[in-house]
Symmetry: C2
Subunit: 336 residues, 2 copies
Amino acid sequence: MDILQVAKRANVSTATVSRVLNGFPGVREKTVARVRRAIAEMNYVPNPNARSLRVGRTRMFGLIVSDVNNPFFPELIDAFEALAAAEGIEVIFTHTNYDPRRLHNCIRRMIERSVDAIAVMTSEVEEDSLKEAINAGIPVVLMNQRAMAGKYPNVLVEYTTGFREALEHLLALGHRDIGFIAGPQSLNSARGRKDAFTAALRDHGLHVRSEWIAIGDMRVEGGRKAMDALLARNPRPTAIVASNDLMAVGALQAAHASRVRVPRDLSIIGFDDVPIASMVHPPLSTIRHPRREVAARAFECLWKIVQGREIAVDQPLHPHLVIRNSTAPPAGAKRR
Amino acid sequence: MDILQVAKRANVSTATVSRVLNGFPGVREKTVARVRRAIAEMNYVPNPNARSLRVGRTRMFGLIVSDVNNPFFPELIDAFEALAAAEGIEVIFTHTNYDPRRLHNCIRRMIERSVDAIAVMTSEVEEDSLKEAINAGIPVVLMNQRAMAGKYPNVLVEYTTGFREALEHLLALGHRDIGFIAGPQSLNSARGRKDAFTAALRDHGLHVRSEWIAIGDMRVEGGRKAMDALLARNPRPTAIVASNDLMAVGALQAAHASRVRVPRDLSIIGFDDVPIASMVHPPLSTIRHPRREVAARAFECLWKIVQGREIAVDQPLHPHLVIRNSTAPPAGAKRR
DNA sequence: GGAATTTGTGTAATCCTTTACAGCTCTTCA
DNA sequence: TGAAGAGCTGTAAAGGATTACACAAATTCC
């Protein structure tokens, strides 16, 4: 079923078939039709390996994420894939399971498959791993790796905007005593979120009470424990912002277990807007992470690089607050 | 950076380098070492396209699912991928978004990429789409497509076992009045679940009260509406089994909204055991779908076919009940 | 009418591995 | 000692597409 068969059937050379296949100009109308018919009749599908071998590109992009099981990622993967499919690019994807050392393996695998470009959407990135891709001539785009801003194309998300909106919402409701559930400060992404939150707080002239900041593991369990710690404080915050939704869900559970009613006794705001956020009770107000847009930017960036076009300077994307039912005025307060 | 360079450096023929690369026997110890060194020094990575072109296999498997955003799938994908990676197989995956017609495109894409095998893990399958893969000589494995049992290798899940366990649990608690939230009966998978439930009910000598069966869309919203309908019945069931967790979560929300306490006033059991099941309040008792095992079976099956080995006859897998906190004795009853 | 283009198509080299086959050197054995 | 066999390694032909280059025919231009 190779191109030669088609060429014979259409009574032309393989070169001509190839030209038709790739839509090159300069083939007579009638010849094109003849070739097309032969292709259809023989149900011919070009061999991608032969093509890639010759052309040096595979039309495959790699996508590396931290964890498929984290509900944050499916939308991102979905968006990336949809765009890729539209351009005829196949995506192969792997995950590091949060282990930056595994990034190295992932990238190696992608190099071995000779993908045309790689998007790295993990919270943690070791630069050494990237170098290997660069050395192999494969362009890379990162997500929100401030530490490497400038060195690599990088889709940035301005967390502060989201926290500021959340804060303004809480302040408007009358809250003044606001706690925070942070992630492990050894993780870039968690540190970034905490810094953004404290920055937003400071912008509003509020100071950060360290006893109102608890640290969790970015998962439900950690949120539960962090909330237990915060509930034991005296005085206690009247509102809590969590640095991701999973921990906010844990916080909700802990509050429930301690018979603290949300939102009447305590307001909770999450971050990310993963699907569960709207499925818990009460539905969680949360800051929506623009991950579909992140995926889109990342893909476009790689696509441009691969085509040898200019890439624009990174303008950060902004998360926005989504108000649901986990926020209300503090007990005994009236709206101002 | 081709094999010729390595061969020159190691002072052998490309054939010998290839033999070393592929671990073929019959190369002198010393030569192997020399070649290995050359490979390492030159940081040589074989070109997969050239290899695939020659060998006729790509070491890529396709995985087609219904929906990445459905929390059911990530674990399945993860498990499939992990096994594949262990064998040096790359997975490319796509989703049909529940549209059986899109399966056709998905399979076409996979054929164009000339994957070595395809696993189809969607709820709905049109046979015509599969034929194209078979014609292209690509083996296919299905998940739970009873309609095509026998024609294609097929990983079956015996839903009845799970429902029977759920039922026995509810009966032991003292429930007799048990309702069911089904999915759209136009979908194979939803119909299969409903049939399995009614079969389990009948096995226990209970009859099916049609007014205690409601139909939802397999998502949270549909579960909510279905539950509202069931709550309006008189008499009302004391326990509800939903045909997936998302609808069970919706049911939980509806119960909550109607001030029906779960599990005190009403017991709810879900199906699948997706991550949210344990994150809602109360944590949902549910029937765990053995999807990691499904993925494993599917992969092994394809792997055997690709290697030309015998494949075993399908023994179905069994889901099992996971008891959490959404089930309790009916109001005013004591355990028997 | 002949030179210069333009248009359309074919020839053959190339991309990089794998592998059938051949050939060489050394043992081993009768 | 000569033949047979074992153990290594090299030669060269695939495998299926793309593409630089060449060439023939048709058109345009002086």
